[in-house]
Amino acid sequence: MFRPRVIPSHSLRLWRDTRVLRVVGQAVFLAAVAAGAWWLLVNLQANLRSSGLNLSFRFLRHTAGFPISEGIRYSPTDSNGHAFWVGFVNTARIAAIGIVLATVVGVLVGVARLSANWLVRKLAALYVEAIRNIPLPVQLFFWYFAVILTGLPAASNSIRLPGAIYLSRRGLCMPWLIPTASFATWRWFLVGGAVSAVVVYAFRRLQLKRIDRPGIPILWSVATLLLAGTVGWCITAGRPLALDVPVFERFNFEGGIWLSASFLALLVGLTTYTGAFIAEIVRAGIQAVDRGQVEAAKALGLRRRNLLRLVVLPQAMRVILPPLGSQYLSLAKNSSLGILIGYYDLLNVSTTIFNQTGRAVEMMLLIMGSYLSLSFLFSFTLNYYNRRMQPVEK
């Protein structure tokens, strides 16, 4: 009679045991990576020392001394560290606004590509193909030089849009609210309002759950905040906020808020570029939804809008979200091309700092760290949302 030979596990030689090999393999790989990194670090330190450059971040506290004309409050007497922060905020700002706009453009165009209307469908396809196949730096130069600098008038005869908004080749200038002396008092009403809004939200949510009815608790909190703000506005002596209307002076408009030509060109460039990629992702996502779903929805008598909103898009989202995240990340990183057209982003400011201080290695570490943390922030948020969108398995 045949009996299969069973090898008892204790007699198996270690170098043939896959369980052991797997662990050892990983340990060896990890050790190699660690040794490589260690070698690079030691070598870097030794070489820096031999050329008299020691790794130090003290220069961040020195006075920056150079101008930045974009973003949060800054003056040349501030420190290098603050200048870097201004650049970081500018990068985060263009990335955040760009992501929102690119998503809107991408979803609209993606849906348009599947439209029943021949013209809409072809136009959307033309947009996607044209934009995707031209390098982004070329597009940025196009928006900056051909559209804004050549297409728009000089600041002295700006295009006046309704509401005292002025558009010229220097950018867009519009009225803005600025805090006055009584703002400090009014602020407390806002803080109080915000706290009560949270409380109201939680309370209303519990209440809705108890009576088991649908509702939108966030509306209640918004109403609470508005109420607090309005009451505060009436009680506070004088107006807490004043409208700062731009006025033309010798060279340009003063006052109000500015969106510089560089900012506009970069924003339009990043939005249209990334929008084209997102459009393709959205189209792929929609087409991945089973035909039966659409047919079933039609059989139920849903209109096209509701069919998309209630049936197709929620299912398409599961396919769309992961690649969408990479597009967001590439938009954030592509914003570093802003230096080409004079946008004061992280890279532009850092170039100046490292040229003035000669701290190339330190600045590289800071730049890489900043982009990395920004990217982590975006991908963390998106992964969280992605998990929530996945179907709940029962």
Binding site: L41, S51, R250, I339, T352
Partner: protein
């Protein structure tokens, strides 16, 4: 700029991978060529002709003079303002001749650079449109100013406006050509840089006469070759090649007559390598200075060839010979 970022990142990696400690002269001799970092976009100083692929300019010729003095070939590396120091610090180039201003920070241990004698005394100025009716800095309250990022001009500009209590809107670009194109297209009211560069850029404008350089000069900008800190032997060679061009002009030694020059003046004889053993003291051949002048000419010839066509005047400026009231002056050849 994306390219600048990747170049700098690569260079940083290069520092961490290879040792830079080697002596520059030995490295140059072993390699058989000198690697010079230059500007490729500044006509008159350092310019790359896109059709011929040839570099030309005042700074470029100083590179050729050094190579001729050592007796090796030459390679030019075009660099942007943002890349130039890292390229030198990491040993990618042997000498940087890139209209670079001599400042304390750059000369110090902190940045690891050494500055050779000044070859051109410059100063930061302003280029404006004639039609705007600006006649001095004080007229520029609230004006937008374009410039290249990664240069000292940004700080000087901020200082000049701050000192006068003027409001400044700045716009910095990674490339000088792009910055100037933006100014020309109307993104800015003013373009600021060293006056020599303004003269050079103005000559490239579509209608040069529409633009004018303001009389104000806000800084002293001594420009000259730069080497790595700590390699004194190499520092001496570059220094004395520069002095050779000064000395040759003072004693009427030119590109045309240097090979046949004879003199009874002992100092000139030492310069020509006929006596004194000056070459050996620098680790070079005795005819090094003759070769340098034969390659590019003396200081006056260099100036006339590259800078006068831009409309840069020498008379009455610090760039005149000291015998004519300028600052161009060579120490003793002894």
């Amino acid at each position: 700029m994306r390219r600048a970022f990747s170049v700098v990142a690569l260079l940083v990696l290069a520092v961490s991978l290879c040792a830079v400690g080697q002596q520059t002269l030995e490295a140059v001799l072993a390699r058989g060529k000198l690697v010079v970092g230059v500007n490729a976009a500044l006509p008159g100083f350092g310019y790359l002709n896109a059709t011929t692929g040839q570099f030309s300019g005042f700074d470029v010729d100083y590179g050729r003079a050094i190579a001729a003095a050592i007796g090796v070939g030459i390679e030019f590396v075009p660099l942007t303002e943002g890349e130039r120091f890292t390229a030198l610090q990491t040993g990618q180039i042997d000498v940087l001749i890139h209209n670079t201003t001599w400042t304390l920070t750059r000369d110090s241990r902190e940045m690891g650079l050494d500055f050779c004698p000044t070859t051109f005394y410059d100063g930061q100025g302003f280029l404006v449109r004639r039609a705007d009716g600006i006649s001095s800095i004080s007229d520029m309250d609230g004006a937008t100013v374009c410039m290249t990022s990664g240069t000292g001009t940004e700080g000087n500009l901020a200082d000049a406006f701050r000192e006068r209590g003027l409001e400044l809107r700045a716009q910095a670009f990674s490339d000088t050509e792009v910055a100037f194109a933006a100014y020309e297209a109307g993104a800015c009211d003013c373009f600021t840089s060293d006056k020599s560069q303004l003269a050079s850029l103005r000559s490239t404008a579509s209608v040069p006469d529409d633009h004018t350089i303001l009389p104000d000069t806000i800084t002293r900008e001594p420009l000259g070759p730069v080497v790595r800190h700590g390699d004194d032997e190499w520092f001496d060679i570059v220094k004395w090649v520069v002095f050779a061009t000064f000395f040759a002009e003072e004693y009427g030694i030119t590109q045309a007559n240097v090979a046949t020059s004879e003199s009874s003046n002992p100092e000139v004889r030492r310069f020509l390598g006929i006596e004194g053993g000056m070459g050996a003291k620098l680790g070079l051949t005795e005819d090094w200075a003759v070769n340098a002048i034969a390659a590019v000419g003396n200081y006056g010839e260099l100036f006339a060839r590259h800078l006068e066509p831009l409309g840069i005047k020498r008379e009455g400026s610090p760039n005149a010979l000291y015998t004519e009231g300028g600052l161009i002056y060579s120490p003793q050849w002894r």
